[in-house]
């Protein structure tokens, strides 16, 4: 039996798992229209490859990864691209982002795809394949997985952790996935094992999911490598990557560091499943399992095509009950209210909760902080939220950073326990985005300063060059008039001559040598042009 560790803090909110975890996953029908956002992952947005009117096949790449931290986006089914423009996406800002809208033809015609023989592949080729299959972390952060699947220079990893904790209340999509598709998850783990070469593999599942634990244990027993399924105590946020690592291994990634700094890498079980689909079936990420729960008639889990409007998903769950006043994407602790109900499902959408007054009563007005320090007791990141609150509120961002604001995982435990109902996490999010914005502004200012200084230097240099040219001309004229016998004038002349030589040398140095490596025919062409130019010049001189 493995000895488990525990992290400080955490809370026990009402779980609400039973509403949706008893019914099997239902495949959602293909909607008539899909809106696929091109920026569904952390990093830079994918670059669109299709235009209006294009016919696309199921699984066809419609946007390619751009830059290193990025992932591709694919057509979830076959159909015709109707619009490529900005549309409202599931984001707390409610702002639009670039999306590809397509009318589906319900023919489900797949693009050619085949399983990969990953064992024979070059590791970087395999990683690029995962990037081009759009595999991102499906736990909610949507970080491109291929980057995390790089073992780095060490070429080895101590512990690979599969995160099946699913600690947020209401959400059961990973629970159902583990119950129903445990073998596929284990096959995905096998690919991850091949890529990362970990010494041990652990699957952490909270002990409120006994069926998922049993299913995963059964599947792991069949595997020809060692995987240990470890039930972990149910406590929020036990499924946070850093918290789960702490519980399973006792290791703590350093402040501001990554889990690989302590030899651990952590993936969501659903990510392992999509790695399996991408490698063993050659299928990109075009659907995911979403829990639809809360104030709906028949809560459950659905396998949904990316781009399906949330509204239609809610209809599948029997529709929203009376009193629904909005939809939350993600869980009640870390999720956010959707700007409008017709936004599409994206790779990060693990759960849609129909909210109502009865389920989530609005927080009473905030009262002053009484420094009871309950938030510090509840904080799983060992921070002092009451101090961070003070600094964020006062916009004292330097001090907030000193108190490790960026180690805050925004889990919401502090807000949950605050007896004064202060929206602490909102203050921390505000402070973080303000710090990022200032950093960007500073970068822009530095760039402007540098460019301005270079311009000043350039203008100065051009001025000097012009002066030298004039001096050169004057000297030439003097020579034409005949040298004088005056030794003083001779010295002056010599100085001028020296200056001319210097200028010539300098000019030769700055003249771009961009014709050096040209083929002879090009050189000949240039010579001809030069000859013509000289001729033309002569002509104009004769005219004048």
């Amino acid at each position: 039996m493995r000895t488990l560790h525990h992290f400080n803090g955490g809370v026990h909110p009402a779980q609400h798992k039973a509403e949706s975890n008893t019914r099997p996953i239902v495949a959602a029908p293909v909607p008539p229209r899909l809106v696929v956002p091109l920026h569904q992952h952390i990093g830079s947005a994918a670059k669109p490859l299709v235009k209006v009117g294009d016919k696309v096949l199921k699984g066809q790449m419609i946007a390619a990864a751009e830059g290193y931290v990025s992932a591709a986006v694919h057509a979830p089914t076959s159909g015709t691209v109707t619009v490529v423009e900005m549309q409202t996406v599931p984001h707390p800002s409610g702002l639009p982002d670039l999306c590809v809208t397509m009318e589906t033809d319900h023919e489900e015609r797949w693009i050619a795809h085949a399983p990969l023989d990953y064992r024979a592949m070059d590791p970087s080729e395999l990683r690029n394949h995962l990037r081009d299959a759009g595999v991102v972390g499906l736990g909610g952060a949507a970080f491109p997985s291929f980057i995390k699947l790089n073992p780095g220079p060490a070429q080895k990893l101590q512990t690979l952790i599969l995160n099946g904790a699913e600690c947020e209340p209401w959400i059961t999509c990973d629970d159902r996935l583990m119950q129903e598709r445990a073998e596929a998850i284990v096959q995905g783990i096998e690919i991850m094992r091949f890529m990362l070469r970990p010494e041990e593999i652990l699957v952490g599942i909270e002990d409120n999911k006994p069926q998922a634990i049993a299913a995963m244990r059964a599947a792991c027993a069949l595997a020809d490598f060692a995987v240990e399924v470890v039930p972990v105590p149910t406590i929020y946020p036990g499924g946070g990557a850093k918290q789960l690592i702490k519980v399973l291994t006792g290791k703590e990634p350093p402040s501001g560091g990554r889990s690989t700094d302590v030899g651990v890498q952590c993936f969501n079980v659903a990510t392992a499943y999509s790695v399996h689909r991408a490698v063993h079936h050659g299928e990109p990420v075009i659907s995911r399992i979403v829990t639809v729960t809360g104030n709906v008639r028949q809560p459950g889990n659905f396998e949904v095509l990316i781009g399906t409007p949330v509204e239609q998903l809610v209809q599948l769950a029997g529709g929203a009950k009376d009193g629904t006043n909005g939809y939350v994407m993600g869980g009640p602790m870390m999720g956010f209210t959707l700007p409008q109900p017709n936004v599409p499902v994206v790779k990060a959408t693990n759960c849609i909760i129909a909210s109502s007054q009865a389920l989530f009563s609005p927080a009473p007005p905030a009262l002053p902080c009484i420094r009871c320090s309950r938030c510090a007791v509840a904080c799983p990141a060992d921070l002092q939220p009451m101090d961070l609150y003070w600094f964020s509120r006062a916009r004292n961002f330097g001090k907030a950073q000193e108190y490790a604001l960026f180690d805050c995982i925004e889990c919401g435990c502090c807000t949950y326990v605050c007896p004064s109902h202060i929206p602490l996490v909102q203050y921390f999010r505000f402070a973080k985005s303000e710090i990022w914005a200032r950093e960007k502004e500073k970068e822009a200012a530095d760039l402007a300063r540098e460019r301005h200084e270079f311009r000043q230097f350039r203008l100065e240099r051009e001025k000097e060059e012009r002066a030298e040219k004039l001096a050169q001309k004057a000297a030439a004229k003097l020579e034409m008039l005949g040298g004088s016998t005056d030794p003083e004038a001779d010295a002056k002349k010599a100085a001028i001559q020296a200056a001319i030589e210097r200028a010539k040398a300098k000019k030769a140095a700055v003249t771009p040598q961009n014709v050096d490596n040209l083929p002879p025919d090009k050189l000949k062409e240039i010579e001809e042009i030069e000859a013509r130019r000289a001729k033309a010049k002569e002509g104009t001189q004769q005219d004048s």
Binding site: H39, V89, H91, P92, S93, L95, D97, P365, A366, P423, Q426, Y427, R429, F430, K432, S433, E434, W436, A437, K440, E441, A444, A445, D446, L447, A448, R449, R451, H452, E453, F454, R455, R458
Partner: protein
């Protein structure tokens, strides 16, 4: 007695030499205050302060020749930072030098542009690309929004476009407690 005198005077000579050497070796070339002020200024290089760029304005502030409230792009925030740095009283922006505007970038209407290069010569950060009788264009990422290129254009083809809010630049708002209407 004599040895003590010798030791003391010897020490004085050595330490004096060390201090003299250090003063030469670690000589501060520029007024460090200018650098600090320059770091606060937004580097728009727009000249609205009455000086030909941010650095000259910073130098003037350091020399006590200019007030701290002459930079519209820096806004109240910038003035506040300057007042903190220099230990002087905050004062509102001097309206003579202009009003703060939302951050924008210049955009050239490429249909109208005649390729006169006047805007290229005006741009303080070399953010305009083009050549004589060739269409010009603005490198948006390097444009500071100083508006210096707008006036020289003989065909009025340069407009200022405010930078709207995008998801990438969106910021979480300062939390406010909604006040509900009574009744």
């Amino acid at each position: 007695m004599l040895s003590a005198l010798l030791v003391m005077s010897g020490l004085a000579v050595i330490l004096g030499a060390v201090l003299g050497f250090a003063a030469l070796k670690f000589k501060v070339e520029e007024n460090p205050l200018v650098e600090k002020i320059d770091a606060i200024l937004p580097q728009t290089q727009c000249g609205q302060c009455g000086f030909p760029g941010c650095k000259p304005y910073a130098t003037a502030i350091a020399a006590g020749e200019a007030d701290i409230n002459q930079c519209p792009p820096g806004g109240e925030d910038g003035i506040r930072k300057l007042s903190e740095l220099l230990g002087v009283e905050f004062k509102p922006l001097n309206a003579e030098h202009g009003e703060p505007k939302p951050k924008s970038v210049a955009v050239i209407d490429e249909e109208i542009c005649i390729g006169c290069t006047l805007c290229i010569q005006a741009c303080p950060v070399d953010a305009i690309l083009g050549a004589a009788k060739q269409m010009h264009t603005i490198i948006a990422a390097e444009c500071t929004g100083c508006e210096l290129c707008v006036a020289p254009c003989p065909v009025d083809c340069i407009g200022m476009q405010p930078i709207g809010e995008e998801i990438a630049s969106w910021k979480w708002r300062y939390p406010v407690i909604p006040i509900r209407a009574a009744g």
